[in-house]
C-alpha cells in the first residue's frame, strides 16, 4: 500500500471538506473545496485510493504545498 500525501495546490481557506477517512475515491474526484482567488476551487485525488487522514477542517487557512489529505493506494 502506497501512502499519498495530497498537497493543496493553491493558498486559500478551506470551505468544504467532502470526504472522510475510509471513503473510496477515484482519480480527479474532489476531496475538498478551497476558496481562493474569489473562486471555489476543488482539491482533487491524484489517483484511485482510499482516504486515510483528513488533516484540515472547514474554515482553516491552507497554504500551497501544505498536506491536506492523506490517501492510501
Amino acid at each position: 500500500m502506497a501512502r499519498i500525501e495530497v498537497l493543496s495546490d493553491i493558498t486559500g481557506t478551506v470551505w468544504k471538506v467532502l470526504v472522510k477517512p475510509g471513503d473510496k475515491v477515484v482519480e480527479d474526484d474532489s476531496l475538498l473545496i478551497v476558496e481562493s482567488m474569489k473562486m471555489e476551487i476543488p482539491l482533487t485525488a491524484p489517483e484511485d485510493a482510499v482516504v486515510k487522514e483528513v488533516r484540515i477542517g472547514e474554515g482553516d487557512a491552507i497554504a500551497e504545498g501544505e498536506i491536506a489529505i492523506v490517501l492510501e493506494a
Binding site: I10, M37, K38, M39, T44, P46, G65
Partner: protein, 511 residues
Amino acid sequence: MAFEEVLSELRRRREKALAMGGEERLARRRAEGSLNARERLELLLDRDTFHESGLLATSYRPEVRHRTPADGKITGFGRIEGRPVAVVSNDFTVLGASSSVVNGKKIKHVRQVANESGMPLVLLGESAGARMPDRMGAAGRGILGQDPTEYLRDRRTPWVSALLGSCYGSSTWYACLSDFVVMRKGATMAVASKLVTELAIKQAVDAEELGGWKLHTATTGLVDVAVDTDREALEVVRRFLSYLPSHNGEPPPVAPVPPGSDDAIADILDVVPESRAKTYDARDVVLRVLDRDSLFEMKPRFGKSLVTALGRLDGRTIGVIASNPKFKGGSIDADACAKATSFLVFCDSFNIPIVFLVDQPGFLIGIEGEKRGAPGRIMNWMNAMSLVTVPRVAITLRKNYGQAYLNMGGGRNSDEGAAWPSADYGFMDPATGVNVLHGLREEDDPERFKKLMAEIQQDSAPWGLAEIYEAKTVIEPRETREYLKQILAVHSRRPTNGVGMHRLAVWPTSF
C-alpha cells in the same frame, strides 16, 4: 534442384532470426504476461502488411554474431488503417535490445525512409541502453556520433513511442523526441537503469520512482498517457495516428461524422455554472463541442489547469486548448505553460487548426511558480504563438484575465475571437480589481464595494469587445459547435489546402 543449397541456407537463416532470443526467454515473457517484439508488431499493424528490413542483420562482432538475431531491433514498414508507417520494435530477448553499430544503422534507415517518403515512425520501446563491449573505450567513441542528425527532430512526419518495458538508452531518447508517448504501467523510462543508478550513486532507488508512469504522466509530462497492457498501448498508438496526416505536406484525414454528434451541446448551460466562482470540468464542455467519441486527450495528468486534446469537428481534426477551472481554478501554472506550448508546436507542425476555449483567472502567481521560471515559460508560449500559421479560433466562455488573455489567443493571436454572453474581460477578477484599483476591501464598506464592482463588471462584459470588433461575434453557448464548424470552414486556407508554414518544426521537444 537448382539453387537448392543456397535456398536452404536462406531458409535456415530466416528461421534462426525469427526464433529471436530463443524459446526459453520467450516463454519467460509469456509467463510474465508481456508480448514479444514480433507479437507487438502484429497487433500494431494491419494484418500481413509488415515488410521487414534487416531480418538477417546481426552484431558485427564475431563472438556474438550467432546470438544476435535481427541484432535486437526489428525494423521495417507496414500499414495502419491502410496508411504506411515505419516501425522499430525492440526485441529485449536479444541482449536486452541494446544499441549497437548494426541496429543503429537499421533505425537510421527506417527513420530516413519515413522522412523522405512521408510516413509516421512508430517506436516500440524496451531497451537496456548502450551495448557493451561495442561502445567501450576510445574505440567505442569512434562508433558513436557518426550521424550528426541522429537526434534531430524536424517534425516532417509524426513520431510515436510506446514504452512497453524497461526503457533506457535509445527507447528513452526516441520517446523524448516523439509527438506522442504511451506507457504501459510497470514500464520504466530513465536515463540509466535502476542497477546502474544504484551503483553510480550508491543509494537504493525504486524503479517506479526513478521512471514509472506516475512520475512521467504527472510530474515530468514526458509521457502522455499510461495504460494497463501492451495491447491497449498499441491500440492507443493506432488511434492517435488516425487524427494525423502521414506527413506535414498534407492536411489530416477526414473521418465520417458519427450520427448524433450535434445533440450533446444542447445541455451545455447545465454544465458550465453561471457563477464565475463555481468550477466545472472543461472536458465536459470539450466533448460536447466535438464529434461524438472523438475526444483524445494529451497529457491528461500533467498541467491539469489546461486541457490539450485532439478531436474532430465535422470530421476534421482539430486541436483544443481549454482552460480547466476544476484544477487550480483554471489558473495557468508553469507545467500548463509547457503543455500548451508543446501542443501548439505539435498542431502547427501537422496542419491541425487550434481552438481555444477560455475560462481562466490569469497565470497562477506565487513563489512556487516563480522558482520554476514561470515568466520564461509564459514568453516561450507567446514566442511559439507568434510563429503559428494554422487557423486559430478563441472563444471566451467566462473569465479571461491578464496577460494570459494573449496566450489563449486574444487579440491578433488568433484568426477569430468570439465570446459567450457570460464572458468577462479585464486585467483581473472584478472584485480583486476593486481591491487593487480603489484600495477598498468588501468588509470595510460593502455598499460602496458593490457599486464599484458593478462599474468594473459593466466595463468587462463582452458587449464592449464586440462594439470595437475585437470579439468578432457573441454567440449563444448552445451555438458553439455550429459556430466552430462554420468559422473553421471559412478559415480553411484553400490556396495551400490547409498546409501551414511549419515555422515551429525544429522547436525543442522539451523546454
